[in-house]
């Protein structure tokens, strides 16, 4: 191998890791480049969403299941963190971990009956769970503060420094997002990721190769709920104020839209999908008034035309075209 070949080989072999480092480097410099708290605020929102979207994508894209209620788990994380820190004065980090563990357990219990369902039934069950959670958040005034929500959630702090402005939030939430992105990429490339993809594509075949279909689905579901919970906790501590409106079924559909735009099973696609959907209202101002309708339209259009999602669907089409071309040549 010539030195040039060696470099190319190295780049190819480590392309995923290198891309993550590149992104991390860019994000390190981003506050200096952005120089504007408003821009940082938007990018922070992307990071918070991304954590939940990657989890949801693992569930939809790998376990091949549908969840139209993931905002419920984000809400549980947010309310859990808020209540533990406001009412029980718990350290926010401890609260975040405790809530994530509790949500993991809750998700495990939910998984037992619901993951036996498939297709429309599973969609309805997850949707129903979201509506129940939202109703509790809205109606249980004494605890949740009702429709007006909870304010005065203490910020996270690290080494005595309180994380309380957009630049500090940036480093906090993007650190989390990069770690989650890396874990997601690792899982996707592992043989477990392969087993999960197999479950999504043919349960019977997966089972007859030794893959425990039910267990695989439950594990990814729990993982995705934990990530949603973390996303909710970060949301609560960064905004210091939460109300039920952030955790409706429309927010769940927004999360699914982000997954679908990026492509089922594509971790990088999730970054793209999340960024696009968060940024869209910034460019198209009419968008905000019709956002739920537009999300629905995007979702339905993409799923009809490219069931694998926009980005990965287009990539697959291109790959098949290229290979078919080479095959005929």
């Amino acid at each position: 191998m010539t030195p040039r070949d060696k470099i190319l080989y190295f780049l190819r072999l480590h392309r995923t890791g290198l891309t993550v480092w590149l992104l991390a480097g860019f994000l390190l410099a981003f506050p200096a480049l952005a120089g504007n708290p408003y821009v940082l605020g938007i990018s922070n929102l992307i990071a918070v969403y991304l954590i939940a979207v990657i989890g949801l994508n693992l569930f939809i894209g790998y376990a091949g299941q549908i969840s139209l209620g993931h905002a419920a788990y984000v809400g549980l994380g947010a309310y859990g963190s808020a209540l533990l820190t406001i009412h029980f004065d718990l350290n926010p980090w401890v609260a975040m971990a405790a809530v994530a563990a509790a949500v993991a357990f809750a998700a495990f219990l939910v998984a037992i009956p619901t993951l036996r369902l498939s297709g429309h039934y599973l969609a309805m069950a997850t949707l129903g769970f979201n509506i129940v959670c939202h109703t509790v958040m809205t109606q249980w005034d004494q605890v949740t503060g009702g429709p007006s929500g909870l304010a005065g959630i203490p910020p996270l702090s690290l080494g005595g420094v309180s994380i309380d402005d957009e630049a500090k939030f940036h480093y906090l939430v993007w650190s989390f997002a990069i770690v989650v992105l890396t874990l997601g990429l690792n899982l996707a490339r592992s043989s477990l990721g392969l087993a999960l993809a197999a479950v999504a594509q043919n349960e019977t075949a997966a089972e007859s190769l030794g893959i425990q279909v039910g267990r695989a689905k439950t594990r990814v579901f729990v993982l995705s709920a934990v990530l949603a919970s973390l996303s909710g906790s970060l949301f609560a501590h960064c905004f210091t104020f939460i109300n039920p409106d952030s955790f409706t079924i429309f927010n769940s559909i927004e999360l699914v839209t982000m997954v679908v735009i990026g492509g089922l099973g594509s971790i990088w696609g999730s970054l793209f999908g999340t960024t696009l959907i968060v940024l869209l209202p910034e460019f198209l101002h009419f968008f905000d008034a019709f956002r739920d309708i537009i999300h629905g339209l995007i979702l339905v259009t993409v799923l009809i035309l490219l069931p694998q999602g926009l980005v990965s669907g287009l990539r697959d089409l291109l790959r098949i075209k290229l290979l078919a071309g080479r095959n005929n040549a």
């Binding site: 874990l183 690792n186 899982l187 490339r189 592992s190 043989s191 477990l192 990721g193 392969l194 087993a195 993809a197 197999a198 594509q201 043919n202 019977t204 075949a205 997966a206 089972e207 007859s208 190769l209 030794g210 893959i211 425990q212 279909v213 594990r219 993982l223 694998q308 697959d316 790959r319 098949i320 290979l323 078919a324 095959n327």
Partner: protein, 254 residues
Amino acid sequence: MLRIEGIGKHFGGVPALSDVTFRCREGWTTALIGPNGAGKSTLINCISGILAPDTGQIHLQGLRLDGLPAHRRPFLGVGRTFQNLALFPRLTVLENVLCGLTPQGEPSMLRSLLRLPATRHRERLLRLKALEMLDAFGLTDKSQWPVSILSYGDRKRVELARALVSEPRLLLLDEPVAGLNAEETARIGTEIRRLHGAGLTILLVEHDMDLVMSVSDHIVVLDSGRAIASGTPGQIRSDPRVIEAYLGRMSATA
């Protein structure tokens, strides 16, 4: 090796299998033949665990298989292919074959998330193993292709490679050459003979009589869910019940 004892299976009151009993001897290729709807695939599905028989028992080397979940059986050495192909369409050829290596060890969620060096090393070994299998099937050039764009013959071979990569003790083949042209059929035939030579126990369901007669040591004939005859290829060829139930009908339609 494999003992099928009094297996019965109903689908909503309609019997698909009734009281089927036979054995597959170790190292033999046993063929299971019979007209369409005779219950051959149903029996294969009972052995691999996709269906649960209503009555009877299935023993593999003294171990009782029925009652075990399907995902346990590959760990006990049961490998299979499907009549109508059951590949993972969006995975590549290599990835499909890698899925066949599940019995080589289940990865934990935590290890997979962290991608520790030991995990990576293990996965590299699995990859090498899968690539070797692809090489043996002449599929190396297509290892990165999604299986959905392969020809039907190639897909059949990928499925066979996927079933073999975990080195099963018992291989269940449900119509491995259905829909293939003469050349592809010959290729699969050679492969079955090679496996037979290597000592693998095979249960072969197939309509292609030339293939069945040339590769099997023993043949079991199923008709309307009942095992009506069994014997060597020579005996089966001349058995009047078989000719009546199956071969006769075949030539009548041919």
